[in-house]
C-alpha cells in the first residue's frame, strides 16, 4: 500500500475543507475515495464539486461498510464523533476524528476503551499542536530548564463570531445539537494545549455565561480559575463576543516568565531560581537578575495538513502522530469540568463526577430547541 484511501464523514465547513485539501494533493499519501453526509444539499455539492469516482453516501456507516476506504476522517456533529470512531475501528478502518473527542467524557471513555483494544490507528485533529510556538514551549517545559510552573494565564478571546454564524445551522450552539458553545466548539485546541503544556489541574472554578453576546442557548463567554496539584494557579478566559480579541498565554515558572502572543515567544529568563532567591536575598525589594530574549522556533506550522500527513505516515510507515486519538479526552475533561462548576456554582475537583455531568447536560438537552438554520456554509479557511 503506497497511499491510504480516505473517506470523510461529514462535509460541512470543516469536512469540506479537508476534502479539498486532500483532493488538491496537499497530503500525498492520502487519496479521497468517499464522502458521506446526512444533508442532501451537501451531497449535491459533493457531486458537483468533487472529482468523479468518489463514493458519495447519505450515511457514514454505509461509507465505512463500503470497502472503498482504509481510513475515515470524522467531521460530523460533536455528539456523533465517538459512535463513528467506534464503528469504524470495529470495522477495521483507521480513524481520525475532528475535535472535540466528544461532548461528554463518558462517551469518550467508551471510545478510548475500544481504541485501546484495537490495532488500527486512532488520531485526533489537534492541529494547533503542530504550531512551532507551542511545540517549542512544550519542549522547553519538558526539558525541566524552567523549573516548576507557578502560574498560567490564557486570554483567548479572539474567537469572534457574529450572530449569522450561529444562525447558519439549526443545531449550532444548542445543547442538544452541538452540546456546548465556545468551550466545546472553539476552545478544544487551547484546552488541549493547556493540558499538554501544563498538565491537568486538580480543581476548576468556572463562570460560563450563556447567550451573553448572541441569541443562542449555550455559553459564549467563560472565565475559569484553575488550581494544579503543585499549587500553581491558572486563569482561562474565552469568548466569541470580543472584537478584536486577544490570544495571550503567559506562563510563570521558577526560572522566569514566558509570554506567547502574536506568534512570538518572549522569555524573561532568571539567572537563578526565584524560590531560592526569595529565601536568601537580604534586600526586601530585590529581584532575581533577569534577561529578556525571544525564543527561536523552527518556524514550521503545518496545521491540518501536518496532522493528516502524520496520520497517513503512521498507517503506512508507523511514524508518530501529532496527537493520539485517546488524548482528546483531556481537553474535554477541562471543558466538562468548567461547565459542571458553572452549573453547580461551585469549585469542581478533577476527576469530577462524570455521571452528574451527564445528568446536568441531559437536563439541558431535554429543553433544548434546535432551530431551522439559514443553511449557509462559511469558508472556514484560516479561522481555527
Amino acid at each position: 500500500m503506497d497511499s491510504v484511501r480516505l473517506g470523510i464523514i461529514g462535509i460541512g465547513g470543516m469536512g469540506t475543507n479537508h476534502a479539498r485539501s486532500v483532493i488538491e494533493g496537499n497530503i500525498p499519501e492520502l487519496k479521497l475515495t468517499a464522502v458521506a453526509d446526512v444533508s442532501k444539499d451537501r451531497l449535491a455539492y459533493a457531486k458537483d464539486n468533487f472529482p468523479e469516482g468518489i463514493g458519495i453516501f447519505d450515511d457514514g456507516h454505509k461509507l465505512i461498510d463500503s470497502g472503498m476506504c482504509d481510513a475515515v476522517l470524522i467531521a460530523t456533529a460533536h455528539y456523533e464523533h465517538p459512535d463513528y470512531v467506534i464503528y469504524a475501528l470495529e470495522h477495521g478502518l483507521h480513524v481520525i476524528t475532528e475535535k472535540p473527542a466528544g461532548v461528554y467524557t463518558k462517551q469518550v471513555r467508551k471510545m478510548n476503551d475500544v481504541a485501546a483494544k484495537c490495532d488500527k490507528v486512532f488520531a485526533i485533529m489537534l492541529n494547533q499542536r503542530t504550531n512551532c510556538v507551542y511545540r517549542k514551549l512544550h519542549e522547553m517545559i519538558q526539558s525541566g530548564e524552567l523549573g516548576q510552573l507557578k502560574r498560567v494565564n490564557w486570554i483567548i478571546t479572539d474567537w469572534y463570531r457574529t450572530q449569522s454564524y450561529y444562525d447558519a445551522a439549526g443545531w449550532k450552539a444548542t445543547w442538544d445539537g452541538e452540546g456546548g458553545g465556545v468551550l466545546l466548539n472553539q476552545c478544544p485546541h487551547q484546552l488541549d494545549l493547556l493540558q499538554w503544556l501544563c498538565g491537568m489541574p486538580s480543581k476548576v472554578r468556572a463562570f460560563c455565561h450563556e447567550a451573553k453576546w448572541h441569541d443562542i442557548e449555550v455559553e459564549d463567554d467563560v472565565t475559569a480559575y484553575l488550581e494544579y496539584p503543585n499549587g500553581a494557579t491558572g486563569v482561562f478566559v474565552t469568548t466569541t463576543g470580543d472584537a478584536p480579541g486577544t490570544n495571550r498565554l503567559e506562563l510563570t515558572f521558577e526560572m522566569g516568565k514566558i509570554v506567547c502572543e502574536d506568534g512570538r515567544l518572549i522569555f524573561d529568563r532568571l539567572s537563578e531560581n526565584e524560590r531560592e532567591f526569595c529565601k536568601t536575598s537580604p534586600n526586601g525589594f530585590a529581584k532575581p537578575e533577569c534577561t529578556r530574549e525571544e525564543i527561536e522556533t523552527d518556524g514550521q506550522n503545518e496545521q491540518h495538513v501536518g496532522v493528516l500527513k502524520a496520520f497517513a505516515d503512521r498507517i503506512l510507515h508507523g511514524g508518530p502522530l501529532v496527537a493520539e486519538g485517546t488524548e482528546g479526552i483531556n481537553g474535554l475533561i477541562l471543558s466538562n469540568a468548567m461547565y459542571l462548576s458553572s452549573w453547580l456554582d461551585k469549585t469542581v475537583d478533577i476527576p469530577f463526577d462524570e455521571d452528574l455531568f451527564l445528568e446536568e447536560l441531559n437536563k439541558r438537552r431535554a429543553v433544548s430547541k434546535v432551530k431551522t438554520g439559514t443553511g449557509k456554509v462559511f469558508d472556514t479557511t484560516g479561522t481555527y
Copy 2:
C-alpha cells in the same frame, strides 16, 4: 498663609520618604514642622537626619495637639489610619492619609462620616492616579467614546518581595499587625484605579492563598473574578511571589480594546460598535474593522509629589485634590470583598456584609502572631 506646616505621623519607609521629599523642597507649599513615631530608633533617626527645629514626638496625638502643624500626613500601620484621621480632623487639622484608607470598611465609614461633617481638607495618597496613562484612560472612558465596558483583565504581579521584606518588621504580613497582605499593602493603588476606571463590581469571587510564597500569615497570591452591574466581567491577579511579574491591564469595550502595559496605551479602535456589527453582519466569521493606535498622553506623572502639591493647593487655594480622602473606601471595599469571598469560599455580593467581614477578620487577629522584626528599613524609592 503662604505655606502649610506639615506634620508626618509614622516615619517608617514611606513616611521617611515623604519627609525627605518635603525637606528637599519638592512641594514648595509644604513645610515639614514635626514628625512622630512610636519607635525610638526612628525618632533617633529623625533627630540625626532631619533639620533642626522640627518637632519630634513619640505619639501622633501629641503632634496633632502641639499647634506646630496645619496639616498631617498619616503613614502609620494601616489599622491606625482612620483613628488618626478622625483625631486630626476633629482637632482642626487638614489630613492626608497613606493608603489603604483602613483595614476594614466599618472603620473607614466612621472616618468618612467625620470628614463629611468637617470643613478641613481630607485627602488620600492614591498617587497612581497622577499617572498620565491612567488619567488618559479615565478621560477616554468618561467621554463615552468607548461605549460600554465588556471585560477587564488586570495581571498585576510585579509586586515582588523577598522573605527579608516581610522579616523586617514584626507586624508586617500579620492579621493583627497589618491586617492583610498583597491586597491590602501593595494593591490599594490598582484596586482604586480599577474602580476609578471601571466602577464598582456587583459580585466578587476570589481565591486568596496565604503564605504561598513566603513565611507569613496573610495572602501573597490572589486571583479574583468580578462581575459588573452591566454584565461586564473581570479578572484581577496579583502576587508578591512572581519574578519578573507583569503589569498588564486590558479593557474591552464595545468600541474596541485598550491594553495598558509598559507605560503605553495601545488602542484597537473599531470603526463601529461591536454589538451592532454582531447583529447585522451577514458573514459568520467577519470582524468589525479595526485600527491600532498608540494613545498619546501628556507624559506627566508626578506621583507622591503631585498628590502632596494638590493637597497643599487645596488647603491654600481651594484647588482639586488628586483623590478625595473619602474615596479611599472604594478600593478597600474591593479587597475586603475579595478576602470575604475567599474565606467563605463563595461569591460575595457588593455591598457585602461588613459585620461578617469584621467578625472573620477578628477571628484571624485573635490567633495572629506578631513576631520580632529585624528592624531593617528599606529604601522604598521607586517601589510603589
